[in-house]
């Protein structure tokens, strides 16, 4: 049982990483990117197909992350060009259409045959108190914590961070003030492209073996981001880890396992309604 809970930490860390990407995009571009994980799925399947051709794993990973990043930047540019003046609802609907487009392209490029992903990090690891911590647990957890700290410092302390937040809050005002909005947009989408792709590469061996399956990891990622209210990076980290451990625990009990999605729905709806309980009215404008 403890074993299952701890093994949930890998998934939890990746949920947290993806959740952090969602929060970073939301806080800097004002959009909830439903296509975040589809971008990562592109990278993961590129990697596995390249490795299949006999390419060394690390080269394949680098190329895969580059591919994911390019897709991410293209998506960001599309949103910047066409949707920078529209509200969050429309922007988010646009990412839903983008998700659908990526799913169609993914299906075309990679097909829907399940792949077997190699997991280069599970080979090493150590055993503590009878529980095995594999390489990917350590890497994912470490990456999630480091990223949280880095993002937190960047957004709150650096000039670029302040500028990014200004762009999210008032894109037009920021542009009129002469902020390089285009360059800032590219920075953000490159960043979430790299992190999102790497995260999916780490989680792919245990999570799912198809493009669609990987793309739908956006659900737990969103749940993690919601735990932090799309604002707090630390709470997003905690939310992702909690969610991973809870799913690890529930997968141990065969009876509850199939209801994981329902549990997630209940978890998210209750958090949301609690947070928004005072919001009797839409924004006053």
């Amino acid at each position: 049982m403890i074993e299952s809970t701890i093994s949930g930490l890998v998934n939890g860390s990746v949920y947290a990483l993806l959740g952090l990407c969602l929060v970073a995009t939301y806080r800097t571009s004002g959009v909830l990117n439903f296509a975040q994980t589809a971008v990562g799925a592109f990278a993961a399947l590129t990697a596995v197909d390249l490795i299949g051709t006999g390419m060394p794993t690390w080269v394949a990973w680098l190329i895969a992350i580059a591919v994911g990043t390019v897709v991410s930047v293209l998506l960001g540019l599309m949103l910047y060009r066409w949707f920078s003046q529209t509200g969050a609802r429309i922007k988010t609907s646009a990412t839903i259409a983008a998700l659908l487009a990526l799913l169609a392209i993914g299906d075309r490029v990679f097909g829907d045959t399940p792949r077997s992903f190699v997991d280069p990090f599970s080979l090493f690891g150590f055993t503590l108190w009878g529980v095995r911590f594999t390489g990917d647990t350590i890497i994912a957890l470490g990456a999630a914590v480091v990223l949280t700290i880095a993002l937190d410092v960047m957004l709150r302390r650096t000039r670029t961070g302040h500028r990014l937040r200004a762009v999210a809050g008032r894109p037009l005002t920021a542009e009129l003030l002469g902020l390089p909005v285009l360059a800032l947009t590219i920075i953000v989408w490159t960043f979430v492209g790299v992190v999102g792709s790497a995260s999916i590469l780490i989680i792919a061996p245990t999570a799912s073996s198809t493009f669609t399956g990987l793309s739908l990891l956006v659900l737990p990622a969103t749940a993690a981001a919601l735990f932090g209210g799309f604002e707090s990076l630390w709470l997003t980290l905690v939310g992702g880890l909690l969610l991973g451990m809870i799913s690890g625990l529930t997968s141990y009990f065969a009876v509850i396992a199939p209801y994981n999605a329902t549990l997630q729905l209940a978890f998210v709806t209750l958090i949301l309604i609690f947070k928004q309980r005072g919001e009797r009215w839409d924004e006053a404008r």
């Binding site: 439903f34 839903i96 487009a101 169609a104 729905l265 998210v268």
Partner: protein, 586 residues
């Protein structure tokens, strides 16, 4: 004549029905199967059109409702009940309603992206259930029995078409009702809806329930058509496809939903014939939906806008009034055309009207550590015009929000004709005769002026009443679409809406903001006539001191949330405290 008949939606619908009804006479076999699939495909797209298109709430789980409808019918069939097909379809629709209600309840507090997340997770949860509990009878190969006359494919096509026609009929009737119109208003602004006396909760719950039912009916038909359906058809992906189709084709309107369903059936077949894989079709839908999202115009909306522009070029002969009348003519009309105005009426209320129309007692509002209003007491006599003035940040708008019921957390008392309104929700206050307008105009762009006024009045208005009030406020013509009139005119329409509702008190929040001075002067005259013509009291929040001087019986001056002066305009505005508050002197 021909033009007129083409413009009548009922005739057009019947014509389309007649043409579609001929399909089984022309084709059989696979093409007929596809035609039936297209008819059934309309239901989920139409339901997205209602919830997202009309009420503006993102929903990514409409096929879960379809699945629930199909599942229920399959369960009844597997359990051995042989019910008539009509009843099965009805039950399929009803089975989805409780789930629609649940999501509707969530939408009372959740908006925008949050509803996107919750509905997507609902779709994921439902998909997991369909995996866990496949449709009953699926594994045993137990086919849903359509019953005697509908076993033939032609008969079933006609049945599906009839059900679609009935659903469309019901949906159009509901959409035209007060509740149905309130869906559009909620999309524009929930505050705007409540200020017209429309309960926003009812609007959201009903739109989700109707949408779920429409989807559920589609599910019942689907399983009756194919006999068995795999649970995969109701997964997350199909729901996203339906959402995208609804946006692309503008499923807010029925023809948009029909176009979307046709495309979802025809495009894959065309691609198949051309040897292009099917996922390219999905890609095309997704990519073409982006411009539709950007402009806010799906295909049906764009089509309607084009038709409307064309009809504007050759205006209908009946009464498009010239947009502005000469001021003097109107003035005389309103002086003579109504019951005589005794100026004394306003100054000396009769014994019966001794209770003030609106009394605000010791009202305070706290935002965190800021006291926005501090023990404000104002009494508005019956049939009077009272102004509330003050520098920026004095708490004027907070006062209107609190009195109108948009700030539930105030302390103190608000009484309307002696009735205590504390704890009443905003829409109930509006229904009770306490109406307000907004600084930022919230009149729903998708309605015509007449529709908006009727909604505001809460009753059927005849053409004369509509014209009379529009004449009074100098608004645009009754048939113009609010989307096509300028912001100043929209404000006049909102004021008109307040007046036709026969309010006890009308709160006007900066009615002259953005109006040129000539129009503001005219508006001032109108405001001073309102108590006698519409038998109401008016509270004006204003910056424009000329307006305040010319129209008000009494003025209350606010500064930093407190009343610093009250009395006749001449008296109150010359108070040294007031002068220094406005000029910022020490």
């Amino acid at each position: 004549m021909k033009r007129a008949s083409l413009r009548n939606p009922v005739l057009l619908g019947l014509l389309a029905l007649l043409i579609a009804g001929c399909i089984p006479l022309c084709v059989q076999g696979f093409p007929l199967y596809l035609a039936t699939a297209a008819v059934i495909g309309v239901f989920p797209i139409l339901s997205v059109g209602l919830i997202t298109g009309r009420a503006g709430i993102i929903t990514l789980c409409q096929l879960s409702f379809t699945g629930i409808g199909a599942w229920s019918v399959a369960a009844l069939n597997a359990a051995g009940y042989s019910l008539p097909i009509g009843l099965l379809i009805l039950l399929g629709g009803l089975a989805a309603v409780p789930f629609g209600l649940l999501l509707g309840l969530a939408s009372l507090r959740l908006r925008g992206i949050n509803m996107g997340i919750v509905t997507l997770m609902f779709a994921a949860a439902a998909a997991a259930y369909f995996q866990l509990y496949p449709l009953p009878g699926l594994s045993a190969g137990k086919v849903v029995d359509r019953g005697a006359p509908f076993e033939s494919d032609s008969a079933f096509f006609w049945l599906s078409l009839t059900v679609l026609a009935l659903v469309v009929g019901v949906v159009s009737l509901v959409s035209r009702s007060r509740t149905g119109t309130s869906w559009l208003v909620v999309r524009t602004s929930e505050r705007g809806a409540a200020s017209l006396g429309l309960p926003t909760a009812v609007a959201k719950l009903t739109v989700f329930m109707v949408g779920a039912a429409v989807s559920g009916v589609g599910g019942a038909l689907l399983i009756a058509q194919t006999g068995v359906v795999s649970g995969d058809s109701f997964g997350i992906l199909p729901s996203i496809v339906v959402f995208t189709l609804a946006i692309l084709f503008g499923a807010r309107f029925i023809e948009g939903a029909i176009l979307g369903a046709l495309a979802s059936v025809v495009v894959p077949q065309l691609l198949l014939a051309a040897g292009i894989p099917n996922d390219i079709g999905t890609l095309i839908f997704a990519v073409t939906a982006l411009p539709a999202l950007r402009t806010g115009y799906g295909m049906a909306e764009a089509l309607r806008a084009r038709l409307a522009r064309r009809s504007n070029n050759n205006p209908a002969p009946d009464g498009r009034r010239e947009s502005k009348r000469s001021i003097s003519r109107d003035r005389s009309r309103w002086r003579q055309g109504t019951e005589p105005v005794h100026t004394d009426d306003r100054v000396l209320p009769t014994a019966v009207e001794a209770t003030p129309a609106l009394s605000i007692l010791d009202l305070s509002v706290q935002y965190g550590s800021v006291r926005a209003l501090d023990g404000v007491t104002i009494s508005v006599p019956s049939r009077s015009v009272v102004a509330i003035v003050g520098p920026n940040g004095a708490g004027k708008s907070t006062l209107v929000d609190a009195v109108a019921g948009f700030l539930p957390g105030y302390t103190g008392e608000v009484r309307l004709n002696g009735t205590n309104l504390d704890g009443w929700q905003a829409h109930r206050r509006a229904q009770a005769g306490l109406r307000r307008t907004f600084q930022q105009v919230r009149a729903t762009a998708d309605l015509t002026v007449q529709q908006y006024l009727q909604l505001a009045a809460g009753r059927r208005l005849d053409r004369d009443e509509v014209d009379a009030v529009l004449d009074f406020v100098q608004g645009p013509t009754a048939r113009s679409l609010i989307a096509n009139v300028d912001v100043g005119s929209r404000r006049l329409i909102e004021i008109g809406g307040g007046l036709v509702s026969e309010p006890a008190v009308l709160l006007l929040d900066e009615p002259a903001a953005g109006l040129p001075s000539s129009e503001s002067e005219l508006l001032g005259e109108r405001i001073s006539l309102m108590p006698s013509v519409f038998k109401c009291s008016v509270v004006v929040i204003e910056h424009d001191m000329t307006l305040v001087h010319s129209v008000c019986d009494e003025v209350t001056v606010l500064n930093f949330g407190r009343v610093i002066a009250t009395g006749s305009p001449k008296h109150a505005l010359s108070d040294p405290l007031v002068v220094s508050a406005f000029l910022g002197a020490e």
